[in-house]
């Protein structure tokens, strides 16, 4: 994740995580709009399948991730969340 930036300094590695959310019927738009207000959210997707909304967040550390999950829990209309922390990530081009 870390890389030398243009000033020759190391960027601190960031922590990525997926928050998988199940939403009450009829509350999807409300929850979606609230989630897009979270500064650390990089992708917010409404999905069809086992989950209703998938959020990808990028944070500095796990402490920050905890604060975000707390914030998510406070949104009205959310039934359940599952958080997956990314340990390693491989993009297709890197191989």
């Amino acid at each position: 994740m870390s890389d030398l930036n243009v000033f020759g300094c190391w960027d601190l590695p960031k922590v990525h995580a997926y928050i998988l959310i199940n939403v009450e019927v009829g509350k999807t738009s409300h929850v979606f709009n609230e989630l897009t207000k979270i500064r650390q959210a990089t992708h917010v997707s409404i999905t069809a399948g086992e989950f209703d909304i998938i959020v990808r967040v990028t944070v500095d550390d796990l402490e920050e991730l905890f604060l975000i999950t707390e914030k998510v829990h406070r949104i009205d209309g959310i039934i359940k969340t599952v958080t997956h922390v990314v340990e390693k990530e491989i993009a297709k081009a890197e191989v």
Binding site: H43, S45, V82
Partner: protein, 411 residues
């Protein structure tokens, strides 16, 4: 930074840039017919004024408004003040300058040496085809087959719209297909690479990028110019630049805006797609010319719309629009959550990466072991490309498919 639908922003930036470019062409014609008739003097004087205007704009956009906010942020949210390029950035800015200089120089050579330059200019539209190849070779996100089909439809459409009478000179054609298009390709490619470089957490902004690439073009241009253009003409161009400064400055400000939007679009998508959407300029150029020709009959000429050329132009416009609609039809994005059997992970990751359409694989701690993000042209392809492949891979105990219906992305 606000959360926007990436696709909408990408399309609006590319198309707006193309529309502005159509206005630039109209302003160019205006200046060329009413004020500066010689194309060489016009080109050189525009260049001189351009460098001055760009530097003034860069300084003006650096003005602080309020706390932690500069004026340029309205044009490009990643603008954070003047940046002096160093290291990798400097390298790409020089490469961009070289590309732009090669392309401009070929243009000057063609307009002075080749008979009927307007007959071979439509071939500059083919630069998008070069960008397709560039994207295929260098980009992480390679253009899909349908994207390539749509892009070529746009290329041929734009080619037909710009087609005009005259003989096609073989040397001129060679110059357009060789140095001129290659120069433009290098210019766009270097700008794309520079745009992707991050400074702190922001991408290198389009304002600095445009200004610096023009400055490096100017440095190269001034070293080679004396060998190509007689000194008398250069002196003349300087004189013209001073006389018509406001007119030329206006032209360059619109050019600047068009480029800033173009570079921002480059940061969001594939070069070939940006350039294909930018081709809207040739279509928008037609109604602009017709309106201006009826308002100022002496200055602007009516485009040939009767007879064979009219039919060809209409076909071209239809091609451009069809291509753009086909391009904008969205791809299917999905997440695949995978549970793995306990065994060697490296082998499994390698197998997962072989699957077509997989963007990235996240190895996670939680209920699922891997989360794949996939992008496909249609849901029908999902079975063939992904589901069947996944069931073939040894080491997967279970997986679920979650289709994305709507997505917002922070940019």
């Amino acid at each position: 930074m606000t959360l926007l639908r990436r696709k909408y922003l990408f399309y609006s930036l590319s198309l707006a840039s193309g529309i502005l470019a159509a206005f630039v062409v109209a302003i160019d014609v205006w200046i060329n017919t009413t004020a500066i008739h010689d194309p060489h003097i016009f080109g050189v004087s525009l260049f001189i004024v351009g460098v001055i205007v760009h530097i003034i704009l860069l300084i003006a956009l650096n003005t602080k408004i309020g706390k932690d906010m500069v004026l340029g942020e309205f044009l490009d949210p990643s603008f954070r003040g003047i940046i002096i390029p160093r290291g990798k950035l400097l390298k790409y800015m020089i490469i961009a300058g070289v590309g732009n200089a090669i392309s401009s120089m070929s243009y000057f050579f063609i307009i002075s040496e080749v008979p009927d330059p307007s007959a071979i200019m439509p071939f500059t539209n083919l630069v998008t085809a070069y960008l397709v190849i560039g994207d295929l070779v260098t980009e992480k996100e390679k253009p899909s087959v349908v994207e390539i089909h749509s892009i070529f439809m746009i290329i041929f459409g734009a080619f037909l719209v710009t087609l005009s009478k005259g003989t096609i000179d073989p040397l001129g054609l060679l110059l357009v297909l060789g140095p001129m298009n290659m120069g433009t390709f290098i210019y766009i490619y270097a700008q794309k690479r520079a745009r992707m470089i991050k400074i702190d957490e922001y991408h290198f902004d389009s304002v600095n990028l445009r200004v610096w690439s023009l400055i490096f073009t100017a440095i190269l241009f001034t070293t080679i110019m004396p060998f190509m253009i007689p000194l008398g003409q250069i002196v003349n161009a300087c004189y013209v630049a001073i006389t018509y400064f406001p007119l030329l400055a206006f032209d360059m400000i619109v050019t600047f805006l068009s480029y800033v939007l173009y570079i921002r679009a480059l940061g969001l998508g594939k070069m070939s797609v940006v350039n294909a959407l930018y081709s809207i300029s040739v279509v928008v150029g037609l109604p602009i010319t017709i309106i201006l020709a009826s308002l100022f009959p002496g200055v602007f000429l009516f485009p040939e719309l009767t007879g064979v050329f009219g039919v060809i132009k209409v076909i071209g416009i239809i091609f451009v629009f069809l291509g753009m609609i086909a391009l904008s039809l969205s791809e299917v994005t999905a997440y695949v959550f995978i549970k793995a059997k306990p065994r060697e992970t490296q082998e499994l990751i390698r197998n997962l990466l072989k699957i077509k359409g997989v963007e990235y694989i996240s190895v996670t701690a939680g209920r699922y072991d891997y989360i794949l993000r996939v992008k496909l042209r249609s849901l029908g392809k999902a079975y063939d490309n992904i589901v069947r492949e996944l069931s073939r891979i040894d080491g997967i105990s279970d997986f679920i498919w979650v289709s994305v219906l709507k997505e917002w992305e922070r940019i």
